[in-house]
């Protein structure tokens, strides 16, 4: 498996069409690194969910960035998805089941959540590069 010398950072407007850009970047990265299919699919789904949360909730109809960083950490890939929006808290603009964060936690090998109201949020996900089974049997 090729080494990842350092990382990738992608900063783009929080718009629905840009979630696909993030997915393409992760796909290209996974291909170049020869990541197992299960890891690739789990990572793409988790990051898609994180980016979609930002598009839907972070800026309350306003504009702002999605910031995605991918870095190597030994045998893991660490993916950070951040925004500069209203921070993590109960959403007032959706009646959804609220499965986003639990899904991300299930798909990743570890998850840290940083942020507070009005100060943006950061989701730091780690994925083992050698795992060959999907986290929740979706891949």
């Amino acid at each position: 498996m090729p080494a990842l010398e350092s990382g990738i950072r992608l900063t783009l407007p929080a718009k629905p069409e840009n979630v696909a850009v993030v997915r393409h970047v992760l796909g290209a990265l996974a291909e170049a690194l020869g990541l197992p299919h299960a890891v690739t699919e789990d990572m793409r789904l988790a990051v898609t969910e994180a980016c979609t949360n930002i598009v839907r909730h972070a800026y309350a109809g306003g504009r702002g960035p999605i910031d995605v960083t991918v870095r190597p950490r030994g045998g893991e890939l660490q993916v950070t998805v951040a925004d500069a929006g209203r921070g993590i808290g109960p959403s007032l603009d959706t009646a959804g089941p609220g499965l986003g964060l639990p899904l991300i936690a299930a798909l990743s090998d570890s998850l840290e959540i940083e942020g507070s109201r009005g100060a943006g949020s950061r989701l730091i996900m780690s994925f083992l590069r050698t795992r060959d089974t999907a986290a929740i049997g979706m891949a």
């Binding site: 990738i8 407007p13 990265l29 170049a32």
Partner: protein, 136 residues
Amino acid sequence: MTGRDWNGVTDPPTRISIAAGPLVGPVLRRVVGMFAARADLPLDRLDDAVLVADVVAARAPAHVASDTVDVALESSTRSLDMCVGPLRSGGARGLIVDAAVPGVGNVIEQLADGIDVETDGEQEFLRVRLAYAGAD
């Protein structure tokens, strides 16, 4: 393209920063291809945009100001703007010169509809514009 923020009338461009190395080519060509498609460029110009991305990926690491290749991308109707940098002083011209391929000529100069060099202190940015000739 380099100084717009989130308070402006339009969104800033998408920015991608990739550690200079083997990932630059695969990642950059994918993103540029996607933005070219979003700009509704016809297939031949989309292919041209990806070719320019490949040349930038191959040649830019020798001219960057740090250890990453940074590209800002912005698509509009039938055109794609690609801003490469920060580059070292003289790096923008160096990157253009390095885009020459024996027997083919200079790939960037032949394919781009516009090339500009922007300077910000000691740093330079190479802006390349690809468009569809039939666009208004």
